[in-house]
Amino acid sequence: MSRQRWAARWFGRVLAFLLPALLTLAMVLAVRIEGYRQVFLHVGQSAIEELQLVRGTTVAMLTAIGSSYQVMNEFDASRLSALASSMRYNTPGVQLVAFATWVDHGEENAFVAEMVESGYPSYRIRGQDAQELIPGKRGHLPIRFIEPNNPRLLRLLGLDVLQDDDSVYQVRELAASGLPAVLEGWRPGPVADGLVFYVMPTYRGFFAPSDTHGRLVQLDGLFLFGVDPQMVVSKLERLHPEVAFVLGPMTAGEAVGSGVTMRPVSEGGGLGLRLTAVQATLDGLGGLHMSRYLRPGELLSPIALFLPLFVGMASLSLLVALQKREEVRVELVRKERELEDERRRADGAMRSISDAILMLDENFRIRYVNRVAERMLGLDAAELSGRLAEEVLVLLDARTRAPLEALHGWLQRMSGQEQFPDLLLHTPARDCIPVNIRVSRLREIERQGVVVAIRDISHEHELTARLTYQANHDALTGLLNRAAFEARVRRALARSIEEGISYALIFIDLDRFKLINDTHGHQAGDRLLKQVAEVLQQVLREDDCLGRLGGDEFAVLMRTPDLEAASEMAHRLRERLQTIRFLWDGQAMEIHASLGVVPVDATSGSFEELMMNVDLACHAAKEAGRNTVHVLRADDRVVGERKRQIQWLPRLQEALDENRFVLYRQPIWRVLALDGEPAMYEFLLRLRDADGNDLLPGVFLPSAERFDLMRAIDHHVIELAMQAMSDPSVMPRESVCTINLSGQTLTDENLLDHIHAQAQRHGVDPRRVCFEVTETVAISNLQVAGRLATQLRERGYRLMLDDFGAGMSSLGYLHQIQVDFIKIDGQFVRRALTDPLSAVSVRMICEIAHVLGVETIAEMIEDQQTVQCMRGFGVDYLQGFHLARPEPLSDLGQLRMMRSD
């Protein structure tokens, strides 16, 4: 809201409050003032009536006492006192009752004497000389009786009423009328100041004369009632304390009667209002001046203030309400526009979203559907509108395909937002489709319905099924992959333990599959694997579970009553595989496999143990010459040995970590210089145990090879060897040393870099280093070995084929591997003296080597006859216990076993 608009709004609100409030205040003030004025006038009227009442009472009493006096033959002082006292007491304002008696001129002294004689020793007539009332009637009207005989009032005793001509005139008029009236202007003195005297003439005789003259002649005296108007005023003031009454003369121009003068005055703080008025005069008393001061508090009483505030607040509230209403209207228009935009966007969104949307009212009748819903339900919006949701949404449980309970009750029970997965929606077009339903109550408009969003998850289901299949199956063969197969094994193992159901696990490893892969490529290997899988499935029963665990490894999980049946199945599988004639590039190859069989039952231990056992059983079959079946039984020795190998694994790791591998060296002499210095030294590996004993490689190397630790060990040996060669105190400066490399190490891509780095680090000439690779390893990794040989030789290193002849049938590969030395298998050497075949083999190897330009080494020389024999065969170098036993390098110098960083 802009600042100006805000200011205008508040200015309007202030005006809306102030104007009506002030107007109402003015009205309230006017009404109250008028009320006060009316009351004021009423009080004035009441005061006048009170005065009139006093006057009337006074006149009545005066008439009564005059009449009583008239009829009594003797009215002594006591009777007069009693009567006057009673009248005075009962007539408000009457302060005194007096009686003035007519004394004829000349009788004054007698009258005074009589008064003195009656107990008034100081009595005398006080006034002018005798006045002539009428011709012939001259005398005085002295007061001879006063009630009360108050000492102050008694000063009026003897006072002549006929004070002056005016009083004489008035008395004359009174006497003539015979009626009570006011003796106006008669001033008896300070004792009676303020009193108004009403008088009643009395006459001689029992009856007042009927004629004026007679009354004047027979005038006997006057009763006087002294009335104090101020007492009446005091009474009025007691009755109306808020009004001040003053009797006094009227001034010219004063409004008399209903006229009230109002003027604002400030008295005692705050601006008030003074009301003044004059009421009509009475019997010459002047005017009754009334005055009333209205205090601000009277004018503005809490109620008088409350009403303007209330009206102001009401007006303000009305304005605020109108402003709010206008704001609401504007806001409503804005909201409606936004809502329309929103509705359009929502409609667009509804059309664009892939979910079917149904909006239901509170009775779950369809009020809106989007196009997806129309398509999904096979009905257009007009057909769907107004129908109950449960009529068109036929839902089934996805697992049981049982119809769901009544949708109506289902929707009634749900609150907020809920999702209902795994449902099937029966549609006319596509029968049942899997759906996810999300139901939301429209919270903003409570009880006004729900929104049902239906998502067709057919595609997700298919995708999930495909992914699940892919996750569980081998892409090449379509068999279960390792994970899925292992899951089946885990379940079978659990069931065997819980339910006592027996299973068997068969592990199948193709023999020399790697050779096919290496020699004919992976495509050949893959083709072979698919063929193997097909063959295996043909043999297996429908319930048996076949999986490919990786590479050339397959496994079968079968339910079997005993292990023999499983063994029989394994043999059938092996035999069936043996029938495969794999053709590739015109070559036919036989397929063999080694199979391990283990029972799956309560004795199988954990899953890991089970898998290790079947692996061991398979290895046992391989070690047994391949193409065999090894059934794991309780007392299986072979497998026991394999387990012991496994137990070596942590010890080897510790040895590596603790640097407990040590090197020995065994000299190799040139045949022609057996008496001289050794031509070469072979480094031999030992493992120093906790007791300080050095263990031979045959104890721990199988485990290292089995568990793929040979790379690490070989790297370690290379480092130790290079270090030793750099120390002249350990190895002679020009000596050539041989270092054995395992088959696993040959495939190490970092091997060359490691060798070169260590040589450079220790300053070892590559020409002094010769690496030994067994013929079996070289043949198994022919391409790799050939490439490595080339690379080593290019860098100056030499290569030696160890245990040459053990393979026998593969002399042809020597063309593929360029070597510097051939070390004849020791078995041939050792039996050469006794076994002609061995002797011929040695001779033939030597001849072939020589043809190839490769020098030969005979190992395992254990006696002098063998030395002579080997010399005769043309062997170039000799090595064996007869010549020298291996000796630890640590005994030769101060070599420190230091690992490189």
Partner: protein, 320 residues
Amino acid sequence: MRQCWFWLACLAFFGASPSWAELPRCLFVSSYHPGYAWSDGVQRGIELVLRGRCQLRQFDMDTERHKTPADMEAAARRARALIEQWHPQVVIASDDNAARYLVKSYFRDAAIPFVFCGVNWSVAEYGFPYSNVTGMIEVAPVRAMIREAQMLTGNGDRFYYLSADTATERKNLARFQKVAEALGLGIEYRLVSSRDQWVTAYRQAQDYPYLVIGSHAGIADWDFAAARRAIVGHTRRLTVTNQEWMMPVSMLGFTKIPEEQGRWAAEAALAILDGVKPSEIPIIANQRWDLWMNESLWREAGTELPAWLRGKAKRFGILQ
């Protein structure tokens, strides 16, 4: 001990009342003694007006019981001593002895104002008014009484007057003689000093048409019961009196009202205290009297009561 507590309480009350201490001092000097019916009535009237408006103190000269001139002069001296000691702002002196022995003797035209009351018939013998004196003369409705007695007894030509032999009664007797003379009646009187004399005179007076009973004040052995018994069976004539307290031995009473005297005197005292000079207040006579009848005496006398009197007169002896 209890007396000590009483005086301490009084001291605490009056001492702690500054308003009482600040009130003007008014002294009431009574010619008689407490228990004397007339002066008790005067005292009631005074107290009725002055209570709470001034410090009122009373001095009783007791001249009715100690009526020798020496006794009365001595009492007047004591009263004067009290006045000089206490310095009242105004003094009310009741009845003739106070007027004669105190006011006239010591305070003529003195600074201290006096208001007298109860002075019978005339103040001429005391020379009132003085500049410092005003008051109310005690006037009995003698004429009205004699006129009524005359009517009731058949308008005889004489009557009998019986009273104590005191100055006051002699003044009263003089007034009666004056009225009788004015009415042309003869008056026989007897002023006595003892009850027996009074009884003897009473019985002798039965030969007269009616008997005026004056005050017993001054008869030392006066006993109303004995007097009452003495007249039973010996009353054949009307007996009238101007003294209310003589109603036990009177058939009809035209009585003055002592409270009127006391009240007027008190109001005059207040006016003087307000600044009005005593000389500005005229000396007046009382205006009121009342009508009483002793019904039992009437019955004993065997006389028929007039109807107007039976309906008008106050009954004496009923509920009193």
